[in-house]
Amino acid sequence: MYQYIIKRLLLVIPTLFGAAVLVFLLLRLIPGDICDMRLAGEGGLVDEETLNTCRAIMGIDKSLWLQFVDFIWGFIRFDLGISMWTGQPISYEIGLRFHLSLQVAIMATLSAIVISIPLGTISAIKQNTWIDYFVRAFSIAGIAIPSFWLGIIIILGLLITTQYFSGTPWMPPIQFKPIWEDPMHNLSQLLWPAIATGYRYSAVATRMTRSTLLEVLREDYVRTARAKGLLEKVIINRHALKNAMLPVVTVIGIEFAFLMGGLVVTEQVFNLNGLGKLFVEAVDHHDFTLTQALVMVVVTIFVFTNLIVDIFYAWLDPRIRYS
């Protein structure tokens, strides 16, 4: 087991390094830099000297190799550096938004687990009946409906229903407050984006539960359990579901990691100040240090979520460890 963990840990390094190279090169391929952005914003032509001073301050006058080494060295020391655009430490900028993104991701994950496992199980047990068709249609619809559009429709629904019942339209609050400061305020803001993203999420997990459970139910040991005369309930809960959960855990892990950095559109619809919005701003401003740091944070979350899922998987299923 330890050998397996060490092997998987070592594989994390090339992925992180590759992502670092990729984001570094992509940013340098974009025409223009932060100094052009800033100084051109003041209007008129800027003389070369001012631009050069600005570039020297930002550290982008150095050779690409030096810039890259600086970036990697900072990342290794867990020092994300200072945002080129705001001048604040990047850890501070990310910290401001991290809480919000994490909470939405956790709420969506919880609702997905609660909805998807029972629904997927029923669908698999009643395969090719109308219940199964209904659940499948419901879950395929969840994958088909764009989360951002669902968000627009939720806001529209809230406006119309509150207008109808109380006379004044109500919108979710825009200012973020942590849940321990003002739980009502916090939930009334974040519940809606969690629903909009959670539906898709639970749809993905429901489909996975159904298809793996169907596979497991055809295994020999389930037939043995049936032949022993065990109750169907016991067979499903104790024998089949346990083994069917492995791929579902993977899907939940991947989706969770995706939610941490991929909520850009939903955040825009709900006017949330999360990591996704910071991403777009950072690229728009040609803020190299902030974009690089954000990509590394999101990729690290993704890689380590996968690592944890894999280790969990190997722990549950010894065949994986030895192959």
Partner: protein, 300 residues
């Protein structure tokens, strides 16, 4: 029922399925895969609308008509008009063209590149496979939105660049699935036989291995079309994809639909329904295809 087959004696014993009239087999298929048939129906309708958009659409999708802005759905404008007085239904019909072009092109290129790379990786194995897999890991972990933002910042906005941004993340996803199928094929004797005959690598990969991983490839393509339509809508909504005045569903949701959601809800509701229905159709179809092609999941 079997009037056709009885006229050819002996034929029905050899090929009982083929001797059925095609309409009957079609009904059989619909009964076995009702959801898949529904998906295929949606896809066919959508392709039809996209191809014949200029004949089907009641109005011009691009010309502004300031005399008829924000008209609610009525007899002339079935789904209402937008903030520039353009007919929502006509823009939806033309939008199907954009969605299908982006969907099919990126799904096809992404899955095909993934197919060739995945099979090659499994075939060569060793160091090549190891390095290739690490590169795929990087692209899987890399946030799509940054890739899209970078592509747009480097090359500019537009349909072609949108297709590039959508295709890139598809390649590793398909390559990974294809690679695992190809790994088991590599061990089968006919590949050894081909090698013993002295065929070159290209021929073994393309002629001997690729045809045997067609099932996962086709399943990935149909799944990708739906995902590509969804991504196209999201990226366009963010302003990173198709630009005005080209009719595109994501653009219709962005173009004032949010601002006017309360006063003109038809502008926000119908494009979203169109996206959902299209992706729904492709997913249903893809699911049915998987059930038919993948014997492991085939119902008893």
């Amino acid at each position: 029922m079997d009037a056709v087959s009885q006229t050819i004696p002996g034929k029905e014993i050899e090929e009982p399925a083929a001797s059925k009239p095609w309409l009957v087999s079609l009904f059989d298929l619909i009964r076995q895969q009702p959801l898949g048939a529904a998906g295929a129906f949606i896809v066919i309708i959508m392709v039809f609308l996209a191809v014949f958009a200029n004949l089907v659409a009641p109005f011009d999708p691009i010309v502004n008509d300031y005399g008829s802005m924000h008209i609610p759905p009525d007899g002339t404008h079935w789904l209402g008009t937008d903030q520039f007085g353009r007919d929502v239904l006509s823009r939806l019909i033309y939008g199907a063209r954009t969605a299908l072009v982006v969907g099919f092109v990126s799904a096809f290129i992404g899955a095909t590149a993934g197919l060739v790379l995945g099979v090659s990786s499994a075939y060569f194995g060793g160091l090549f496979d190891l390095i290739f897999q690490r590169v795929m890991d990087v692209f899987m972990a890399f946030p799509l939105i940054i890739l899209a933002l970078a592509v747009v910042s480097i090359f500019g906005t537009g349909v072609e660049n949108l297709i590039i941004a959508i295709t890139i993340p598809f390649i590793p996803r398909c390559a990974r699935v294809v690679r695992s199928s190809a790994l088991s094929i590599r061990e089968i004797p006919y590949v050894d036989a081909a090698r013993a005959l002295g065929f070159n690598h290209r021929r073994i990969i393309l002629r001997h291995m690729v045809p045997n991983v067609m099932a996962p490839y086709l399943i990935m393509i149909t799944a990708f079309v739906g995902q590509a339509i969804l991504l196209e809508a999201s990226l366009t909504f963010l302003g990173l994809g198709v630009q005005e005045p080209t009719p595109a569903w994501g653009l219709m949701l962005q173009g004032g639909a949010e601002e006017y959601a309360e006063s003109a809800p038809w502008m926000a509701i119908f494009p979203g329904l169109a996206i959902s229905l299209a992706v729904f159709g492709f997913n249903l179809f893809g699911d049915a295809l998987r059930d038919v092609l993948d014997p492991k999941l085939r119902s008893q």
